[in-house]
Symmetry: C2
Subunit: 131 residues, 2 copies
């Protein structure tokens, strides 16, 4: 039994990242631990115990190299169109809404948005297996 509890990403500017995940994604900061060389920030959605852990390395000045391996964190919402409008109003730049079909049925309806450091987030309509 290995219960997933958080996903960690390194971000360059704490205030910028927290503002995005708060205003656009609706996450709340539940803990913040400053250490000498780094700070850890834990954010979560009220509907879940799974957290986003932000690591801010104090001496880092160059943007992180995101590579091409890590994909995204996915979140499910009740109303995809409303979520997209809210993220746009919060200053985010969500992509177009797309649909993935499988065997003639809708598997997923979703869009992607990037956080200020460039990490992708997939926002899915709560539907079928994505709930």
């Amino acid at each position: 039994m290995a219960k997933p509890i958080h996903s960690m990403i390194r971000v360059l500017d704490e205030g910028r990242a927290v503002a995005f995940y708060s205003a656009a994604m609706g996450l709340e900061t539940v803990d913040r631990y400053p250490f000498d060389s780094f700070t850890l920030v834990y954010m979560r959605d009220p509907a879940s115990t799974f957290e986003l852990e932000l690591t801010i390395n104090h001496d880092r000045t160059q943007p992180y190299d995101l590579g091409d391996g890590y994909g995204h964190l996915a979140v499910a919402v009740d109303d995809l169109d409303a979520a997209r409008a809210r993220m746009e109003a919060a200053g985010g730049a969500p992509g177009p809404i797309r649909e993935l079909q499988r065997d003639g049925a809708l598997l997923g309806r979703f869009f992607f948005i990037k956080d200020p450091d460039g990490y992708s987030i997939e926002v899915l309509q709560r539907h079928g297996r994505f709930g």
Copy 2:
């Protein structure tokens, strides 16, 4: 409300990745969708609805560039020492158990292990805020 539902990573060899997350991490494959150019595999722990989504791009032959931005997926276990022994027995190479102190108290007891593609996983003893 944007409930986290999965984390997606791209992996080179489906069988190798699934074997690791199954044998070492105890996750179960709950869905597998082969498409023309890629396959999606969803794995989860019985204790959680949060899933790991593996993307296998069929024409990819080069290892993915993991960069230095994405950190890890963290999981909580009841018995850290037993989990570490189990992962070692399953052929994994877990790092040493470490402790992070904060204000004179134990914040977290954990080790890291890498999956076959090099992604880090943090395994935490269920304790305090990490549960």
